[in-house]
């Protein structure tokens, strides 16, 4: 009963607090803006993929029409691969601005193609988007700090502190009630626009609920920190400085330090090594004896053991065999690069446990499937697709089947991970 009474009393007070109301309005506007522009970005990315698929199909049909042998058909047909944004990507663009999500490749050595990055404007990637995750993880805590740091100090300065304490049944309860009300209203102002946008774009209930719960917990964390500091018998100025200090520590100093530690502890092969190894392997093959290519090749593809390189000059099967052997020689480095990045991500995940802002951003990116793991899963789908192309063309090349353009209708199609409409090749 007493809780309800004090809740009512405080709510009545707070409703008349213009400062609080304007901050709540600011939160609602910023959250709405972040969600709105996230939706626009997702829409843009989807439209880009649609356009690419159409142009890609036209280009491939036109190129294939000019070919008259399997080797050239494979050489001149490019394929667009892509990773469409998930429905929830509007809330957290995560790594999509720094990692590739679209490629255009052909049946040549994959290692020379998969690290190509059709990146957006680096100027924008550097500053970073104002997405919901950034707003919730970095801006929201500062607003909570502004709202809550002076919880007690101001009343003390204004001389109301003792009066309020005396009239409340339980002084601790009073401050807690006030903090709870502020937290509840700030959290709802943040979460509601996200929930509405999520529901409108068909995000699953579990994802939405988890995101809301994460942001809710995050708000609780900051409210607890603020209340702890606000209870400190110091001036509002000191409390505010200390809280902003905590924000800087958790939001930027620890993450920066953590990232440096992770990068130092988990080495990954440099891009230069991967590129150069790949290039040497593929280009040396031109001058190497044919056996040097075919032996490692048939180790991987015993079914083509019987193939004999006819003549001494150029021959498509041999050409594609050394493209594949080039990939085989780079395999160890490439795998180390992928595993190194995954390991860095795992360690960053551990470190983020002590840096709540980074943790929230990471978790939201996971929910939105815009994290590193999703990007690597996409990379692996591209690898699988490239392997399918080889499986498709190898019998025609190595069995020296007669060219039949009709068979090209069965060309493998890239299947994206997410549910997304596709144009048939």
């Amino acid at each position: 009963m007493s809780l309800l009474v004090s809740l009512k009393r405080e709510a009545w007070f707070l409703m008349r607090d213009r400062g609080l109301l304007s901050w709540l309005l600011v939160i609602t506007c910023l959250s709405t803006f972040s969600v709105w522009s996230g939706l626009a970005e997702v829409e843009q990315q989807r439209a880009t993929i649609e356009r690419l698929l159409i142009a890609d199909k036209e280009d491939r049909i036109a190129e294939l029409a000019k070919q008259s042998d399997w080797g050239s058909a494979a050489y001149y047909s490019f394929h667009v691969t892509y990773d469409p944004p998930s429905d929830f990507a509007f809330a957290a663009m995560g790594q999509r601005d720094t990692l590739p999500w679209k490629h255009r490749l052909r049946m040549l050595a994959l290692e020379g193609q998969i690290y190509e990055h059709d990146a957006g404007n680096p100027e924008l990637a550097l500053i970073g988007r104002f997405d919901f995750a950034f707003f919730a993880a970095f801006v929201l805590p500062l607003i909570l700090i502004f709202l809550l740091h002076s919880l007690k100090a101001n009343e003390r300065v204004a001389g109301r502190f003792d009066l309020l304490n005396a009239t409340a049944r339980n002084d601790l309860m009073l401050w807690r009630t006030r903090a709870i009300l502020i937290a509840l209203s700030a959290a709802s102002a943040t979460i509601l626009p996200m929930l509405l946008a999520g529901a409108a774009s068909g995000v699953g209930a579990i994802t939405l609920f988890s995101a809301a719960a994460l942001v809710g917990l995050y708000v609780v964390f900051w409210v607890v920190v603020c209340v702890l500091f606000a209870g400190w018998e110091r001036s509002a100025q000191v409390v505010l400085s200390a809280l902003v200090g905590v924000w800087i520590l958790l939001g930027t100093i620890l993450p920066t330090g953590g990232r440096l530690i992770v990068d130092a502890f988990v080495p990954v092969p440099t891009g230069a090594d991967i590129l150069m190894t790949q290039r040497e392997a593929v280009n040396d093959a031109w001058d190497l004896p044919v056996e040097d290519t075919m032996t490692p090749f048939v180790e991987r593809h015993p079914e083509w053991t019987g193939y004999i390189h006819t003549g001494e000059g150029f021959d498509w099967p041999w050409y594609y065999a050394f493209q594949q052997v080039g990939d085989q020689k780079t395999e160890a480095l490439s795998l180390a690069y992928q595993q190194g990045r995954l390991e860095r991500d795992r360690m960053a995940g551990l470190i983020s446990l002590i840096t709540p802002p980074a943790l929230l951003e990471r978790l939201l990116a996971q929910l939105a499937q815009t994290d590193l793991r999703t990007a690597i899963a996409y990379e692996n789908r591209v690898r699988a697709f490239h392997a399918e192309l080889r499986t498709f063309f190898y019998p025609m090349l190595f069995q020296q089947q007669a060219y039949d353009a009709g068979k090209l209708t069965d060309l493998p199609r890239f299947v994206s991970g997410g549910a997304f409409s596709r144009v048939a090749p």
Binding site: R51, T98, Y115, P122, F138, P255, T256, T270
Partner: protein, 478 residues
């Protein structure tokens, strides 16, 4: 003048007595110094590594054995973008753009392997650099020290007695401003030291000084804003709220919001999309291994006339090499059109951000700082253009070798057997034509000129805010 000095000196005494101020300044210095050291080390390591890779790529290329010239066109070459001397203060786009690029015939590849792509993800603010520390956190320090300057005297009723004694409000405000400017100069010391290091690494004096000057302007704007708000409001809490929310909006919210606006209002077609559009527009140049029918006939006719022959076999020059040159040129011209289109739309997006500097000085200082450090978008484009120039240079050089040193007969028979293939090789000494590549920034004067708009916006902010401050000072009420 004496009054101004007394007021300024008094303000410094107040700060030196404040444990909070001293502690925060100490912490900030610690943070700045460690960030500067870490960034400097990281950049030095990157520079050494990339230089090493560059040298290695060059020596590997020139030490290739005798080869068929067209093989070398596909063998290709690598270029690496080494950081500029001032990148240790403001690495700018270095972390989000690729550092390595493969150059080969018939293709313009993208710069691959950015450090951001391989690094552990620890949130949006985990890429702290000395520049960002100044841009985001130095204003907080100025606010912390300066916010109470006027309002404190007002709350303690000192302001009333000062004004009653006939001290003009303008002088009071000016004194406080001088004290704050002194503090800002002290704050800029670590930057000045970084700039001196950059000078030792070959950066010009002009660049170093203008970088410090840009941050002086930026922090002065914050100093003026702080005192302005401190003079206007009656109560310290209102001053704090006003300044804290200005800081939040100007440094964290507006720059990121500007990114959303720029990308929503000016979407850029990606490289793949551009490539496909180019292939549609220039149907003839899709490969680079062949030229259009008409171009072939034209070239053949010209050569027959020049050498007085009527069979390609009788030419004293290998027409296939010349055709390769022509095809490469046609393709490159087409690719350049699209590459330039793409770069200019990126520049336009960047310009939207720069224009929004009228709303947030943080955007202006970040543009000016990157431009002066040579780590902005136009320097990234400069890298792409320098790499492309090198690519076309060695590819066409090798095509020239192809035309002059490999006979037409040996060339078309190269796939007959091994002996024929060996006859299609040219001497390895030809690979020396590859030029050394070192990424170089614009001259310091050029960089300053391109930073002029941003510097102009910053100066306007300073003049406006300082003017407003003096005006408010003239009307100072107790």
């Amino acid at each position: 003048m004496n009054t101004v000095y007394l007021i300024a000196a008094d303000e410094w005494r107040y700060w030196l007595r404040s444990k909070l101020a001293l502690a925060v300044v100490g912490l900030f210095t610690l943070m700045l110094v460690s960030v500067s050291l870490v960034t400097a080390l990281r950049m030095q390591e990157a520079a050494a590594e990339l230089d090493h890779h560059q040298a290695e790529a060059e020596s590997v290329f020139v030490s290739q054995p005798n080869r068929n010239p067209h093989r070398m066109v596909h063998y290709g070459h690598y270029v690496f973008r080494t950081p500029t001397p001032l990148a240790m203060f403001d690495p700018g786009l270095d972390s989000v753009t690729g550092q390595a690029m493969f150059l080969e015939g018939h293709r313009q590849n993208s710069a691959t392997f950015s450090s951001a792509g391989a690094s552990g993800d620890l949130g949006g603010l985990s890429w702290l650099t000395p520049a960002l520390t100044y841009q985001i956190f130095a204003p907080l320090l100025i606010i912390l020290l300066g916010h109470s300057a006027v309002v404190r005297e007002r709350e303690a009723r000192v302001l009333a007695s000062l004004l009653a004694q006939g001290v003009s409000g303008k002088l009071i405000v000016l004194g406080k401003f001088c004290a704050l400017m002194m503090f800002i100069l002290v704050l800029l010391l670590p930057l000045a030291i970084s700039a001196m290091f950059a000078m030792a690494n070959g950066e010009s004096f002009l660049t170093a000084v203008s970088l410090v000057g840009v941050y002086l302007l930026y922090l002065s704007a914050w100093g003026a804003l702080t005192l302005l708000i401190s003079s206007v409001f009656q109560r310290r809490t209102a001053v704090i709220t006003g300044l804290a929310s200005s800081w939040l909006v100007l440094t964290l919210v507006l720059p990121a919001v500007a990114v959303n606006l720029a990308s929503a209002h000016m979407p850029i077609a990606g490289k793949i999309e551009m490539e496909l559009a180019m292939l549609t527009e220039y149907k003839d140049v899709s490969d680079g291994h062949s030229v259009s029918e008409s171009a072939f006939e034209q070239l053949q006719g010209e050569l027959f006339e020049q050498y007085g022959v009527d069979r390609v076999e009788d030419l004293q020059i290998n027409i296939r090499g010349l055709l390769a040159q022509k095809a490469e040129q046609e393709l490159t011209d087409a690719m350049d059109v699209y590459a330039e289109k793409r770069m200019s739309s990126e520049v336009q997006q960047a310009r939207v951000l720069a224009t929004l500097g009228w709303l947030s000085p943080m955007l202006s200082v970040s543009v000016a700082s990157k431009t002066i450090a040579g780590t902005d978008i136009s320097h990234y484009h400069r890298f792409l253009r320098q790499a492309e120039a090198l690519r076309i240079d060695f590819v066409q050089g090798i095509n020239q070798v192809h035309a002059e040193q490999l006979s037409y007969i040996d060339d078309i028979n190269r796939n007959r057997d091994e002996a024929s293939y060996n006859r299609s090789r040219v001497d390895a000494s030809n690979w020396q034509l590859l030029k050394d590549f070192r990424f170089e920034t614009d001259a310091s004067g050029v960089r300053l000129t391109s930073a002029a708009t941003a510097i102009g916006i910053l100066s306007t902010w300073v003049v406006l805010l300082a003017g407003l401050l003096i005006w408010v000072g003239g009307r100072l009420r107790p």
